[in-house]
């Protein structure tokens, strides 16, 4: 029998895989992938009950009922068509006498019912925000995604073009108290 050189005693590492699996399962169970993204809005201050006199033509009314249906400027509309209608309203620039005078004067009024579903509310808010973002992006000659990147970048928040387009096409959305008809 050939004499084997004695190998230094090794620690049995076969249980490393078990330990690693345990740690992995621990982390899988206790953690969440943080997704802190969303639609940011600013609520009006509590004292802000002064009713600014607005012309009816300058207000774009959007209503939702407890059946999650939309009523835009008095007409039923599907959510898909909301964005185009809102864009047309904002950029009217006094062409149509029944529509807004200028983007700076255009106000969108959004009123829900207490029974409206939250995801319908978010979809409408998203479409309206997207209408504004698309108009601003078009005015700056960039894509919507590029505009969003510009707006979200804290280092470029003072960019004069961004400030200018926000003054030209201000995000004026007023949320009214929800109606309470039936299903709560």
């Amino acid at each position: 029998m050939a004499k084997k050189a004695r190998v230094a005693a090794e620690i049995n590492a076969s249980s490393m895989a078990d330990i690693a699996f345990l740690l992995l399962i621990f982390f899988l169970v206790t953690t969440t992938i943080a997704s802190d993204k969303g639609l940011t809005i600013r609520l009006p201050p509590k004292q802000d009950q002064v009713d600014v006199k607005l012309k009816e033509r300058d207000v774009f009314t959007v209503l939702t009922n407890s059946n999650n249906e939309l009523l835009v400027e008095g007409e039923p509309m599907s959510v898909k068509d909301l964005r185009e209608a809102a864009k047309k309203f904002i950029m009217n620039n006094n062409v149509d006498p029944a529509s807004s005078e200028s983007p700076a004067k255009a106000v969108i009024s959004f009123k829900t019912d207490r029974g409206t579903r939250y995801d319908v509310y978010i979809k409408v808010m998203d479409e309206l925000k997207r209408a504004y973002n698309e108009l601003r992006a078009a005015s700056l000659g960039m894509t919507v995604q590029a505009y969003l990147d510009l707006e979200n970048d804290p280092k470029r928040s003072e960019d004069p073009r961004l400030v200018k387009v926000k003054v030209e096409i201000p995000y004026q959305l007023s949320e009214a108290e929800p109606t309470n008809t039936g299903a709560n």
Partner: protein, 142 residues
Amino acid sequence: MPAISTASLPDIVFMLLFFFMVTTVLRETALLVMNRLPAATQLQKLEKKSLVSYIYIGKPKDTGKFGTEPRIQANDALIVPKAVPNFVYSEKDKLDEVERDKITMSLKVDKEAKMGIVSDVKQQLREANALKVNYSTGKAVE
């Protein structure tokens, strides 16, 4: 068939482990309500985590104990809308004086919750002067 060598199994598992350690955060509060977030496209990231407080709204997971109506959860307890301003003040107290007005309330609302309770919370937030609000959503595919 020769036995497959499993010598590299720990390495693979460690890699997965490090991935999860890096990309996830330890959930701070146990979620007592159902919280399936809706999806949207015009998203903004919340910059400073320290200035964000969370309010969860949805149907309780334990309907036997808490009922079937959507409820509000702040930290670890279910609260009523009137208790929201107190929650805001206690969250503001955790911050420095200068940062108090920069606090953002992140509303994580279940997509099937109704607007009634959400607007109650918004009214209370206006009372408490916490005006920066973020509706937490996932990213919608175009």
